[in-house]
């Protein structure tokens, strides 16, 4: 059927902030879908609260609303825009849930909006456990025995009947929030109670656990004419029991014969037909490794993380095709954009192996529970493509940027046999390395399979790697004959790993390789295993014969991407990379991108002129550069990942475009930077570099406590801490960092004050500052975890002028060509520089959107040689617009057990939202709503604060009382509040008998918590347990009084909700405004 011509305007719901379980894949899917719809001549309206996305760019939809993703705001946009249709299946679970809510509330009917794509009824049938079970039993597809309960006792009764272990799955949640495997009654009681709480309908499913079975997924598509195809199948190396988002996954399926594959494929198609899916769908199976018996585990009737992976793994654009199906097209009417000749109605076949490896945040959350189960914990993932499983797996591992060049981790090799067996049995993020270690120790496949249930096929592949490891170690550098070296490269070994094993330097291996001309070739991802000629310039490396890259005649520039999404390096850097690629293409260059993240827009096949899906490590990047011979390399948009590669790229003789490597180093090297600031007469907090523990202590004594300590090169404030005395400092030095002359620690005076931030574009002479951001939380809370306000609301002109002056001075002195981010603290009226990052920053998308200054585009043109003055810009602060933008962080604490939620210098948030309005209170309100701070307007508030915070706390308690809250407090806080004449109810601390604080929280008696950090971060402290209990029970908990203050202000100001019309991004600045609003 040709596309439905009654549709003129279609609304798309995005997925909101990045959280664990819902990450960049929906930016990619949404972007693809918006483009597909516009390609068909439709007007597209988009709502999404996440400013850091490509999909919320002005050129992605006709009207972009950066508004909270709540039924209220969605309804308001619908009322204003009057779309003909609503496409709900591209915004993850968030989008689906919202669509359901607005449909059920009658809004869609009221405004005559049709729901497009997969019908609501289908979604309900797939997601409601009971309906799903009934449907599957009607079509004779097996599901594990299960029961749906809404109380713990029924869950226990079921488990007693069928036996442990059992799986608990809450209804309607993402990333398995609140679910888990329970091995006994105690665990089941805990998990069930948490799950019921997290489900929006307070239901959980308790089911037979098929732990250890093969976990197989099919990505399928169906159109309105009932044509069905499977795009890709995938096999989890980690069998059933670990959330697929936390599993190492390979595509295609490796261990199934055609009979098993066809059995599951047929089942998947039967299921989507029975459900009536119109678009993409993911079906997960558990298959007995010893028979044809299988169970259908889950069906997701929408695009998902798995579909993004399947798209990138095969080249088949699932989201694009799903969007076209939603507006009436059939699969055989949609062209296969990859071949340009064939149609979307076929099944991709691939001639390589894809490995997906999750990226976990445990490097940031040292205390987190690292065990993997049914609750997803990874923040992002990498994908690698190789011609063998070994090569693909090794590429994936080095793409992770966790310091592993192969399957060896020192901490795993140091485990005892018992510990190793434990790691194999109960998986954590290091299990794959443990498997390799077990093989090194000569454990048999039977033993390892017994412990881990990992298929022996995969164990054999890992053994191939371990065998080669041994051969390299034994032979050393001398043993690396050209033939043997080639063999190791074909098996996927990195130069670094070969060097480590052979006891040589990476440089020696690289030179040896160059001498024998052992270089990779690049093969194309084409959906068809080379059967048809393809036009997609999408490549991966292999040590084989034929290279397929065709470079053009034009000048070309390589942009280094930012790798997996992790805390501290999120989707913002993909946004910047993509914008740089677009700017390069706009300027007539061939743009080439390197990245390994399957969730992103940057790795979509039509973003750059050529895409290399490769690890962002020196060896792989240099190989590509040798093949491409580019005119320049751009490193400033890919976050710290790309910046870290600048040295190697420069040394290899390639030109870095933009700020030079020497100047980058001047900003990042502590001593050189101090010297520069001295020359420029710009103050910074006193401090120094400690090359030993004694050094650090000496510096701290000199500058006085409290001090901020951190390792030198940092990412998102990793291992950064504020310490208040010598004891804590020594503790930190012993536990958090390893100090060596090569890896010193930085010790700085911690200055309490207002934190301010700027991003600027500079060509070395002209320095354009689009805006100044003011942080709500005082310095000490990581900037990524702070609420930021643009333009600043509490800053006098003099300070602004000084910031501009410092920024210009710094940018010129560092010869910045491109972007620079500078953080300041205003302490006792004095302005101090905290850090200078000569690269794009987390705030660039947010700033670009509010101010209308196309920062990455300008920066890219600058690094190509254009002068900012030629583009109409002058040095200084760009004139402010009437709109106020508030950026608020979003956390994923519910997914991470044992992580302290208290804010501090280490970044903890996974994503962000933006609230935009003409007044500060409204913008803050929207940001708070969008971030889900979800503070109730009355109820019981628990206040327990540290001594140093008591004065500030009094003001907050007054606000709470005014709102009608009842105040509970622990002894110390209560006494202090009572002195101020505030009436509070005293509650018992832990260890003071029952019911204590935790009991009250767990018993749903507390609706809001204000808790500030006492010194020391040991998890046994009461504060930690209070905060964790709050997360577990979904009770809002403020650990910064600054945050609490503004949120309460907003609630007081906007008690009755918000009713101003939403403004689309296209109207933030005037239609002719290029951002060049020079304020003289």
């Amino acid at each position: 059927m040709p596309r439905d011509t009654s549709l003129k305007k279609v609304m798309v719901i995005g997925s909101g902030p990045i959280i664990i379980g819902q990450a960049a894949e929906f930016d990619y899917a949404g972007t693809q879908a918006c483009r597909a719809l516009r390609e068909e001549g439709l007007e597209v309206v988009l709502i999404n609260s996440n400013p850091a996305t490509i999909m919320t760019d002005a050129n992605m939809a006709d009207r972009v609303y950066i508004e909270p993703l709540t039924p209220e705001f969605v309804s308001r946009v619908i009322a204003q825009e009057r779309p003909d249709g609503l496409l709900p299946t591209l915004g993850g679970q968030t989008g689906l849930n919202l669509a359901k809510q607005v449909a059920e509330s009658g809004i869609l009917e009221k405004y005559g909006v049709r729901l497009l794509g997969t019908p609501l009824e289908t979604i309900r049938r797939a997601e409601d456990r009971e309906e799903f079970k009934n449907l599957l039993s009607r079509i004779n597809e097996p599901v594990p025995e299960s029961v749906i309960v809404s109380n713990v006792e029924d869950a226990l009764a079921f488990a007693r009947e069928i036996g442990f272990p059992v799986v608990v799955r809450p209804a309607y949640t993402l990333g398995g929030t609140g679910g888990g495997i329970a091995y006994n009654e105690r665990e089941l009681a805990e998990t069930a109670s948490r799950g019921i709480k997290h489900s929006i309908i307070n239901q959980i499913l308790v089911e037979r656990c098929v732990i250890g079975w093969k976990e197989i997924e099919y990505e399928v598509m169906r159109d309105g004419a009932d044509n069905c195809i499977t795009v890709c199948n995938m096999e989890n190396i980690d069998p059933m029991g670990i959330h697929t988002g936390d599993s190492i996954v390979v595509a295609p399926v490796q261990t199934l014969s055609d009979k098993e594959h066809q059995m599951l494929r047929s089942a998947a198609l039967k299921i989507i037909r029975a459900l009536g899916v119109e678009g993409g769908c993911n079906v997960q199976f558990a298959l007995d490794p010893e028979s044809f018996q299988y169970y259908v585990i889950e069906v997701n009737p929408r695009v998902s993380r798995s579909s993004a992976l399947a798209s990138k793994a095969t080249g088949y654009p699932i989201a694009k095709v799903a969007a076209k199906i939603a507006i009436g097209l059939n699969l055989d009417e949609i062209k296969n954009a990859v071949t340009g000749k064939t149609y979307a109605c076929f099944e991709p076949t691939i001639d390589y192996v894809v490995t997906k490896f999750p990226r976990w945040p445990f490097d940031k959350f040292a205390s987190a529970n690292r065990f993997l189960g049914t609750q997803m914990k990874s923040t992002g993932e990498v994908m690698a493509i190789g011609r063998t499983l070994e090569a693909s797996l090794l590429k994936a591992v080095r793409s992770l940027e966790i310091g592993a060049s192969g399957l060896y981790l020192p901490e795993v090799s140091g485990l005892s046999d018992d510990q190793l067996a434990g790691k194999l049995r109960r998986a954590d993020d290091q299990r794959l390395f443990a498997v390799a270690e077990a093989i090194r120790r000569g454990w048999t496949f039977e033993q390892i399979n017994e412990l881990s249930a990992i298929d022996k096929f995969f164990l054999a592949k890992i053994k191939n790697i371990v065998d080669l490891e041994k051969e390299i170690s034994v032979g050393g550098l001398a043993g690396l004959t050209p033939e043997f070296l080639r063999k190791t490269k074909r098996a996927g070994f990195s130069d670094a790993e070969i060097a480590r094993l052979a006891g040589a330097s990476e440089r020696a291996v690289r030179e040896l390789r160059a001498r024998h001309a052992i270089r990779p070739v690049y093969k194309m991802v084409d959906t068809c295993a080379a059967e048809f000629e393809a036009v997609t310039p999408y490549y991966y490396s292999a040590y084989e014969d034929a290279d397929e890259v065709e470079t053009g005649e034009r000048k070309r520039v390589v942009v280094l991407g930012s790798g997996p999404i992790r805390i501290g390096q999120g989707i913002e850097f993909d946004y910047c990379s993509v914008h740089s690629v677009w700017a390069l293409r706009q300027q007539g260059y061939e743009a080439v991108i390197i990245n390994c993240n399957p969730e992103t827009v940057s790795t979509d096949f039509d973003t750059a002129d050529r895409l290399y899906f490769e690890p962002l490590v020196a060896e792989d990047v240099l190989n590509i550069l040798h093949r491409e011979r580019p005119d320049g390399v751009v490193v400033q948009f890919g976050g710290q990942t790309a910046i870290n590669l600048a040295g190697a790229v420069h040394e290899a003789g390639f030109e870095i475009l933009g700020t030079s490597v020497a100047d980058i180093d001047r900003a990042e090297d502590r001593e050189r930077f101090d010297k520069l600031l001295g020359e420029l007469d710009i103050p910074r907090p006193p401090g120094g570099t400690g090359y030993s523990v004694d050094d650090a202590l000496t510096i701290a004594r000199r500058i006085g406590f409290p001090v901020l300590v951190r390792p030198s090169y940092v990412l998102g404030g990793r291992a950064m801490e504020i310490v208040y005395n010598e004891h804590d400092l020594l503790n930190y030095m012993a536990s958090a960092v390893k100090v060596t002359p090569e890896h010193p620690v930085l010790v700085d005076k911690y200055l309490i004050g207002k934190e301010l931030e700027v991003d600027a574009v500079s060509d070395g002479e002209t320095v354009v500052i689009p805006g100044i951001m003011e942080h709500v939380e005082r310095a000490g809370v990581h900037s990524g975890d702070s609420i930021a306000v643009l333009p600043p609301q509490h800053l006098d002109e003099q300070v602004k002028a000084q910031m501009v002056e410092y920024t210009v001075r710094l940018a010129r002195a560092l010869n910045v060509k491109g972007l620079v981010n500078i953080q300041y603290v205003l302490h006792n009226g004095g302005l101090y520089v905290l850090e200078v990052n000569p690269r794009s920053s987390r705030t660039v998308p947010y700033l670009s959107k509010i101010t209308g200054v196309p920062m990455v585009n300008l920066a890219t043109r600058v690094i190509l040689g254009t002068k900012l003055t030629d583009l109409g810009f002058k040095t200084g602060l760009v004139k402010e617009t009437p709109l106020i933008g508030v950026k608020a962080p979003v956390f994923s604490f519910a997914k991470l057990l044992d992580v302290d939620v208290a804010l501090g210098p280490e970044m903890k948030s996974t994503g962000e939202v933006m609230g935009v309005a003409e007044d500060y209170a409204s913008a803050l309100y929207k940001a708070s709503v969008a971030a889900g701070y979800g503070v109730p307007h009355k109820g019981t508030a628990l206040v327990t604060v540290a001594d140093k915070d008591k004065d500030d706390a009094v003001a907050i308690v007054h606000s709470l009382l005014k709102l009608g809250f009842e105040i509970y407090a622990t002894d110390g806080t209560a006494t202090m509040l009572e002195q101020d004449g505030i009436e509070v109810k005293r509650v018992r601390k832990l260890g003071q008998g029952s019911p204590n604080i935790i009991d009250l929280i767990m018993g749903n008696k507390i609706h809001l918590i204000i808790n500030t950090l006492t010194r020391g971060k040991a998890p046994e402290r009461d504060g930690f347990r209070i905060r964790r209990a709050a997360v577990e029970m979904g009770v809002p908990c403020f650990t910064s009084l600054d945050t609490a203050n503004v949120v309460l202000d907003v609630m007081t100001a906007i008690k009755t909700g918000y009713d101003k019309p939403p403004v689309p991004l296209q109207e933030y600045v005037g239609p002719e405004d290029t951002g060049a609003r020079n304020s003289e």
Binding site: Q254, T255, L256, D258, Y343, T349, A460, A530, D545
Partner: protein, 360 residues
């Protein structure tokens, strides 16, 4: 490690490692894009005369399961893969791919850039070639590759088809299957539907077939050029209109020839499990299993009583024909799958419905 080479007639050589039987063999070099089902490929008689290159790099992962064989032996002349699995694992596996090929005396080549071979064949068409683990001298191999007989010059059907008739019992309709090198799954598909299947050799005459009192007749798949089976084509001519007839693959081509159409050789054929085929009657698209190097020429159907029932969405070639008046139809692809998707098994049901209609 024993070196091995695949030499193509155009002078290209692909070096790799021998992983199965040793020796030298020749044939037409083709590629197959199925990611699973190599045992079905190896035992599909239609591959007789061909050296098969698998585009999926990891082959042999789940070993060999005899239950999935499509005939009693392996008919490929050589097997070329990127990475033959040394340690397969599957609960049904009884041996490794290498052991099986050794038993069948098939030369296997692993470690080669199979994608490079595929692109060459895609660009230049199928080629004659030599696979060898013995004399690896390039001059010798190329001379020899150029001397290899063309596939169309070879009589292959007699090497793969049954010599004597045999019957697979069933309680339903009696179907005579003219065996041109039939895959076992055709028999299984009929048998599962209750049919008694009488398998007869290709030389069986029309009278002999009709004497078996069949309710329907099937013409199977098989190797080589359909023009090399003129006797069977004649037999089919005599059967048309007498009984419902269903042809698959080579059977489809022979039916077309018997009805007056023409066949031609495709540049590099269709071999895989992902081809979209559109049923023109319903507009529905099915993902189908393919293995054919020849096709029915669409322009040759003009003026005949045949209509095109199915087309391939990739290259718009004829994938199925139907007689306008008589109970005769055929498809170029494999509704019996194995390996490949089972989406088109419904064609067997349609065949049985046709038989039922004709019986009334």
């Amino acid at each position: 490690m024993i070196n091995a080479v695949l030499a193509l007639e155009d002078g290209t050589l692909y070096h790799g490692e021998a992983f199965a039987a040793l020796g030298e063999n020749w044939g037409e070099v083709v590629f197959n894009t199925s990611m699973t089902g190599y045992e079905g490929v190896l035992t599909d008689p239609s591959y007789c005369g061909q050296i098969v290159v698998m585009t999926y790099p990891l082959i042999g992962n789940y070993g060999i399961n005899e239950a999935d064989f499509e005939s009693k032996r392996c008919f490929v002349r050589g097997f070329v893969v990127r990475d033959a699995s040394r340690f397969p694992n599957n609960w049904r596996s009884t041996e490794t791919l290498a052991d099986y090929l050794r038993k069948e005396n098939v030369v296997g080549l692993t470690g080669v850039d199979t994608r490079a071979i595929t692109r060459r064949i895609r660009n230049h068409g199928v080629m004659r070639g030599i696979i060898s683990t013995e004399n690896l001298d390039p001059g010798y191999l190329l001379d020899k590759a150029r001397g290899v007989p063309d596939l169309s010059e070879q009589e292959l059907i007699s090497q793969v088809a049954t010599d004597v008739p045999f019957t697979v019992p069933g309680n339903g309709y009696r179907v005579v299957l003219i065996d041109m090198g039939a895959k076992l799954n055709i028999i299984r598909c009929l048998n599962e539907r209750g049919c008694e299947v009488v398998v007869v050799p290709p030389k069986t005459s029309a009278d002999e077939i009709l004497a078996l009192k069949p309710d329907g007749i099937m013409i199977s798949n098989g190797p080589g050029d359909p023009m090399n089976a003129p006797d069977t084509t004649e037999t089919i001519k005599r059967l048309i209109g007498k009984k419902p007839i269903f042809g698959i693959c080579l059977g489809h081509q022979l039916l077309a020839l018997a009805l007056g159409a023409r066949t031609y050789k495709l540049k590099f054929g269709h071999r895989g499990a992902n081809h979209p085929v559109k049923d023109l009657a319903t507009g529905r698209v099915y993902i189908t299993a393919h293995n054919h190097g020849f096709a029915v020429a669409e322009d040759s159907l003009a003026g005949l009583d045949i209509e095109v029932s199915h087309v391939n969405l990739n290259d718009m070639t004829v994938e199925g024909i139907r007689h306008k008046f008589l109970p005769v139809f055929a498809v170029q692809y494999h509704p019996e799958a194995a390996p490949g998707p089972k989406d088109s098994e419904y064609l067997f049901d349609e065949f049985l419905e046709l038989i039922a209609r004709e019986a009334r």
